[in-house]
């Protein structure tokens, strides 16, 4: 997907979706000792119309919890999500018209589609809930239109999800998300469950939909190359916080945070000639989000860490190339 040249003027435009200081802790049951799982601990982000914001991170970094809060499936303990300046979480729950404008595509199309509903019923459900089509005739026409939009043949709408391949199922999930004409689609690992040869089809579909419909995407994935490919801007998460954020070219081309450097260095590349290049090898696994380390969360695995890192938690500050590129590291400048 060609991240089209950045047309956004940060001052002139309001973000469609904004998250401020989001926190979410899952409390354990009776048996859990200590605190709960601190999945997201203070995340800010802004999403502008027509752009793709990529979120990368390893398992347990809180990226799926963040996704669920951004669509209102999960209520943050602290902080706020706003859609065009209007708060998501009111006393009466998420207002219906906001729900309609912010949709989600899930990772596993087989578990996120009801196996006992036909494709027509799956895609028509949001139309019914939001009263977007009057009469069964209009409903069928609209479903057919949506299926065509995602590259499926409308005459298969009376079939069930299991009759489709993985890539086609993901297209059904995308058609369902598009049904309400959303301004924002949050995609949580939308291509990770797909075969390599099919991934590219779905990635290209997202690009095309963004071009034709102008929808803004939050694209969450663990595959660094896919995120680079689809995103205008990228956020790198580690243990519930954003370690680095900025334009995709800046974050990938000149990473400022040691964690981003390590991630990029560890990613396997399909180039046998680069075998045996020097790589940054991190020791151990990411710490548990039940008891994140004090200070900088990455200091236990970081080769640049000093005493200061164990005590003072760094905040996001403009990186070496300034502008939109921010990193949360005491030694970000030295890191480049």
């Amino acid at each position: 997907m060609a991240p089209s040249p950045d047309v956004r003027e940060p001052e002139a435009r309001e973000p469609v979706l904004r998250a401020v200081d989001l926190h979410k802790t899952y409390r354990g049951g009776l048996l859990s000792r200590g605190g709960g799982v601190r999945a997201v601990a203070g995340v800010d982000l802004e999403l502008y119309a027509g752009e793709t914001l990529g979120i990368v991170g390893e398992s347990g970094c809180g990226k799926s919890t963040l996704a669920r809060m951004l669509v209102g499936l999960e209520r943050p303990d602290q902080g706020e999500v706003t859609f065009r300046g209007r708060p998501f979480f009111t006393r009466g729950g998420v207002p219906r018209d906001i729900r309609r404008r912010v949709q989600m595509v899930f990772q596993d199309p087989l578990t996120s589609l009801n196996p006992r509903m036909t494709v027509h019923d799956i895609v028509a459900e949001p139309l019914r809930v939001h009263r977007l089509a009057q009469g069964s005739r209009a409903m069928r026409d609209r479903v057919g239109e949506l299926l065509t939009l995602v590259g499926l043949s409308p005459d298969r709408m009376n079939r069930f999800p299991h009759e489709f391949s993985g890539g086609q199922r993901q297209r059904i999930g995308i058609a369902r998300a598009l049904a309400t004409e959303p301004d924002v689609i949050v995609c949580d690992e939308p291509v990770s469950a797909l075969d390599m040869s099919v991934q590219a089809q779905v990635v290209n579909l997202f690009a095309e939909l963004q071009r034709t419909l102008g929808v803004a995407l939050v694209f969450i994935a663990h595959d660094l190359a896919v995120v680079r490919h689809v995103s205008h801007r990228v956020g790198v998460m580690y243990l519930g916080r954003v370690a680095e954020t900025g334009p995709a070219a800046g974050v990938y081309g000149a990473p400022a945070h040691p964690y981003t450097m390590a991630l990029l260095s560890a990613a396997p590349v399909p180039k046998p000639r680069l075998k045996g290049r020097s790589r940054i090898m991190l020791a151990g696994d990411p710490p548990s989000p039940v008891a994140p380390p004090p200070g900088c969360r990455f200091h236990t695995r970081c080769w640049k860490a000093t005493e200061r890192c164990a005590e003072v938690e760094p905040v996001l500050e403009p990186g070496p190339d300034g502008g939109d590129h921010h990193a949360a590291c005491h030694y970000a400048e030295r890191a480049s």
Binding site: N204, R228, P270, G284
Partner: protein, 333 residues
Amino acid sequence: MNEPPVLEIRDLHVTFTAHGREIPAVRGVDLTIERGQTLALLGESGSGKSVTAKAVMGLLDQPGARVRCERARLGGRDLLAMSEDQLRALRGSEMTLVFQDALSALNPVLSIGDQIGELYRVHRGLSRRQARARSIEMLDLVGIPAAARRVDDYPHQFSGGMRQRILVAMAVALEPDLIIADEPTTALDVTVQAQILELIDRLRRDLGTAVLLITHDLGVAAEVSDRVAVMYAGRIVERGEVEAIYDLPAHPYTEALLAAIPDLDTPASELRAIPGAPPSPAETPPGCSFAPRCERASEVCVTTRPALTPLRTGAGRHTACHHSEEMLDGALA
């Protein structure tokens, strides 16, 4: 002196029978791996790569599965002529398997020391005390901190990366000739994946073990393998040295796969997607299995299945495509 290859498999077929239907999952696969070499068996889900691994290990002894093979030799010994007991003695000592999901591969109610120690007690007849000492050595070797203290811990007390290390420790414990690693890092994070791949590679170098790496990840295959065999719909469609294949793929499927994955360094404007989906093993088309999705397909591809034949370029390069030579000529012209 000509050393026999560590593994030599000729014409392996695996057919499952389900609901009265025959499903050919593997349809004539040849594999040869030399000592100290890593062969990556690359393929998508349903291509038959994991079934091949299980068949080689002799783990497909189940009703409904039929394994047929013309020749199967491990370090010159004929596996087909062996009794079940003899094969059982080989598994775990001469050839070992690293599974994808370490949590379900390890026994949750036995300590790690007991599980690694069992190998030494069963295959080497060591005492409990000796086996425990060797287990600690192995845990040390694969980089588990405080091995002597952690040897009595249970699988759930380790993280995902540590559990995968334990599986690798068990696989190399008896210094086998062959390790089969079935998607050993697929369930792991990138930073941990790099550690495990590095570990397997180091052990291969130090112990001279041959490795059969089953993976769907083109990046992983490029990082660690010497040779690559690409599987599609139960057959090997291309094989050769890793550099040659990635530089100049001679099968349209390999070429399309390499073009379909995004590149970190040079983000292209659009990915070249392969139309359609891989065929189900139950209904593969006649002729070339890839023909319906192939942009080079001609009439002959639909009617006649191309055999895996050596290419003019030599170096053990084989492809199963009617258009391979013209692909290479086109690329070089």
